[in-house]
Amino acid sequence: MSNAPEAAPTKDDAAAAAPSQPCGRGRDLNQYKGRLKPIWCTGCGIFGVLNALMRSLCELDIDPENLAVVSGIGCSSRLPGFVKCYGYHGAHGRALPTAIGVKLGNPRLTVIAAGGDGDGLSIGIGHFPHAARRNLDLTYILIDNRIYGLTKGQTSPTTVEGYETKTSPTGVIEPPLNPVELAIVYGATFVARGYSAKVKDLQNLIMEAIRHKGFSFVQVISPCVTFGKGSGFDYFGPRIKPMPEDHDAGDRHAALHLVSDTDTLLAGIFYRQDRPEYVARLQARGGARGRELDASDPKIDTESLITRFS
């Protein structure tokens, strides 16, 4: 029993209530529904991200109990509560270092970090290059609405020049960051962009990202229908274009060239690279066993410590 009066459903209730939606290898999409119902504004882009993520998890046959979804603070960062998983809604900007800790604490988990453009590119941007270059096997979904949604409409680091917000009433005067470009430059080994209105495509990208052995980054263009006036689905729809079929994702220069065009927003995989994964490298040196440690694992060599300190 819960102390929540408005009948917070137990985990089984949640699944039982909804009509079945078979997916994956004999699974049901409802198995991935969290105990909470999304609280986003009607029509918000994040619904599409949630939908694509749940379908990806289902298709990939990932057990909710071996899944950790870690986020920061923001509308987008509410995501972990709506997915059945070990959810971690932490501090503003800190999703990445937290996710890294979770992965190192239990390398067998599938770990997904998610959050907004403010969360990941403003307060938390110091963590982004380091997560990317270290190349731990986790997936970072940056839900980019080009605005601060939760705090009701201030300028974000991806708000474009000239755009009027509550904190830039006469229009933004600084150029925005380009998340995909940054991810490539920082050393992410899988970099993609998706659009929350194209759920099927987004699902494919997220599945590829999760399958990728290393740090995978997916920027999702996801309109804020409440505060993103003039940059809603109408604005993005015509600008989102599929990745040219001949793009070689192994070609870093080509990827950087494509992403430098900020008028058309290409959706697809910009870049991917095979590079040794961080946890595997630590494990090769004996470390990073995480929660798999048990009584049969290496013991402290007390004798060698005594020699060392005497």
Binding site: M1, S2, N3, A4, A8, T10, K11, D12, R35, L36, P64, E65, N66, L67, I73, P80, G81, C85, Y86, G87, Y88, H89, G90, A91, G93, R94, P97, T98, A99, I100, G101, V102, K103, L104, G105, N106, R108, L109, G126, H127, R285, G286, G287, A288, R289, G290, R291, E292, L293, D294, A295, D297, P298, K299, D301, T302, L305, I306, F309, S310
Partner: protein, 604 residues
């Protein structure tokens, strides 16, 4: 004559290898079954300035590096001038120079100590060994020979140290050490009484406070450390960087302190005992996430090796000025525990309590050490590291039912904790106020209940973690950390029963000095006792109240300006303690505390 307790100071240019010489002397002493306590100061700048090591040696356990010098080793004249005022009346001087040509009268006209030995350390290194930089090893040889240490320990240790740095370095440095010993054997006539006693035994460990914290964590089952380099805490992460991977653990050097605590929380959430260590500036950065540990009930151990603050302050000096920020820092209210180890041995032991409390009560635990403890070294029995480490470092998987609620409201305040990977245990944790199942909640009754639930954990904190260290009588016998409820009760009861003239209360690293001051005061007929709570927060009223009531005057000793712990005590009790504060960056000396005790005693 054998001497059972003496103090040696070694000083020279920062580039002259003073610290290494000191380290090696402490190790030689430990192998010779002598106890030591040593401390070092080095200039904040990377190069230039004078370095200084002070080592106290003796037969019995030593709790502080002492005050007056019985031996001053000076690698140059400047060092001599700087430290000559601290010499004891019959203290000896060992100094680099040319005994043939030096004009003793004019050079040492202002010397107030005993015999002087001028030894051409630099010249022997340059001419006989052919490597100028080996001067400190010549010094090491000369000093150990003069004091009567057997030659083999020193030689072995010099060999071991340089072998790690490169084979080519071994030969000249060992040669320097031998040349120093030989010079003393052939050319020096001993004119003093300082000869170390012959003691048998298996030798001792030499640990710094930072070593002890790292090893204590390792033995307490910590398998994840994340941190960001900062003086004077970095040695903890450096040691764990070597040791954790050996036992399947992880040392993660994060990009800053916020990432450090975030990663440690992530690992802890995932089911591994995790910690971070930092100094004041890092603790400030971590404060937001400490609160997350509080509300989301993520076990967490944070070590703060305090240094002079605020801002960058005095990075290489000691201070006890983060107490209030450890107790109250961060926004909002949440349960937390603050512990302060009182000695190097206790640095090791406190970590076990810290991890236990963090894990059982699901709270952040802050361990307050300080530069003066972290960089101090002491000998400890080898048995310390022979004890059995915590072996079951992770919890096996467990299944949970469909009605599992992570933050279930319970009488103890402690809720069942599922970990990622556990079947049936999926849930949300959040820094928002939440329902028992984890979902965000603004409901007023729930808020009230949840705050109370979290704070109930402190109310039910096992009394055994609240033991105190108490000192009374000429030998200032100490009560160690209790391991059972009854023992804690007994120890605290002993402290409660103390009645007398002067009661000293302190916390953390000043215990070693206060203990000696209490013993000296007692010898001078002043009825004195001291207590040091190991767990500072929550407050141990049961023991501290009777102690305060049982003494005519209370002195609160602290290395800070504002008297942070005195203020805490004044908040609990209606009284006005005497205060002894020091904030120049150096630890107290026993004399300073003794003087205060005498001064206060003369007024009661």
């Amino acid at each position: 004559m054998d001497v059972t307790d003496f103090v040696m100071g070694i000083s020279g240019d920062a580039g002259e290898g003073v610290i290494l010489t000191g380290d090696l002397i402490t190790q030689v002493a430990a192998r010779s079954n002598l106890h030591i306590s040593s401390t070092q100061t080095f200039p904040a700048e990377i190069r230039g300035g004078q370095s200084y090591v002070q080592i106290r040696l003796g037969i019995d356990s030593i709790f502080n590096p002492g005050d007056r010098l019985d031996v001053l080793v000076a690698f140059n004249r400047l060092a001599y001038h700087r430290y000559k005022p601290t010499i004891a009346s019959d203290g000896i001087l060992i100094i680099d120079g040319d005994p043939e040509t030096i004009d003793m009268a004019s050079t040492f006209g202002d010397w107030r100590g005993g015999p002087i030995y001028v030894i051409p350390m630099g010249e022997i290194a340059a001419k006989d060994v052919g490597v100028k930089r080996a001067k400190n090893m010549v010094g090491l040889g000369a000093v150990t020979a003069l004091l009567g240490f057997a030659p083999e320990h020193g030689e072995e240790l010099v060999h071991r140290f340089f072998a790690k740095r490169g084979e080519a370095l071994v030969e000249p440095n060992v040669a320097g050490y031998r040349a120093g010993r030989e010079y003393v054997a052939k050319k020096v006539t001993k004119r003093d009484h300082l000869t170390i006693p012959k003691v048998s035994g298996e030798g001792y460990l030499v640990l710094s406070g930072n070593d002890a914290i790292a090893l204590g964590a390792l033995y307490a089952g910590c398998r994840f450390f994340s941190g960001y380099p900062i003086t004077p805490a970095s040695e903890i992460m450096q040691l764990l960087a070597e040791e954790l991977p050996r036992v399947g653990g992880t040392m993660y050097q994060a990009e800053d302190e916020i990432a450090s605590i975030a990663a440690a929380q992530g690992a802890s959430y995932a089911g591994v005992r995790a910690m971070t260590a930092t100094s004041g500036p890092g603790l400030s950065l971590m404060s937001e996430l400490l609160g997350l540990s509080g509300i989301a009930e993520i076990p967490m151990v944070v070590v703060d090796v305090q240094r002079g603050g605020p801002s960058t302050g005095l990075p290489t000096k000691t201070e006890q000025s983060d107490l209030l920020s450890a107790m109250y820092g961060g926004h909002g209210e949440f349960p937390r525990v603050v512990m302060a180890p009182i000695s190097i041995r206790d640095c090791f032991q406190v970590m076990r309590s810290a991890f236990e409390v963090a894990e059982i009560y699901q709270v952040p635990v802050i361990v307050l050490s300080e530069q003066g403890l972290g960089h101090r070294r002491a000998t400890l029995p080898k048995a310390l590291l022979k004890q059995t480490p915590i072996e079951k470092v992770t919890r096996p998987q467990r299944s949970w039912g469909p009605t599992y609620n992570r933050f279930e409201i319970t009488e103890s305040g402690i809720s069942p904790r599922a970990m990622p990977g556990d079947p049936g245990g999926t849930h949300l944790i959040t820094g928002l106020e939440h329902w028992d199942f984890g979902g965000p909640a603004h409901n007023l009754e729930n808020r009230t209940e949840m705050v109370q639930k979290r704070f109930r954990k402190l109310r039910n904190l096992d009394r055994r973690y609240g033991g105190v260290f108490a000192f009374k009588g000429e030998d200032a016998t100490q009560h160690l950390h209790a391991t059972t409820d009854e023992e804690a009760g007994r120890l605290s009861a002993a402290a409660e029963s103390f009645r007398g003239q002067i009661g000293v209360i302190g916390w953390g690293a000043t215990a070693g000095v206060v203990r000696e001051a209490v013993a000296r005061a007692e010898k001078r007929g002043i009825d004195t006792a001291a207590i040091f709570p190991r767990m500072i927060f929550p407050h141990n009223d049961l023991t501290i109240r009777p102690f305060i009531q049982g003494h005519q005057k209370i002195i609160v000793v602290e290395e800070n300006f504002t008297g942070q712990y005195a203020r805490v005590l004044m908040h609990y009790y209606d009284f006005e303690p005497e205060r002894l504060n020091k904030y120049d960056g150096l630890p107290f000396k026993p004399e300073e505390v003794l003087r205060k005790i005498e001064e206060v005693a003369s007024h009661v």
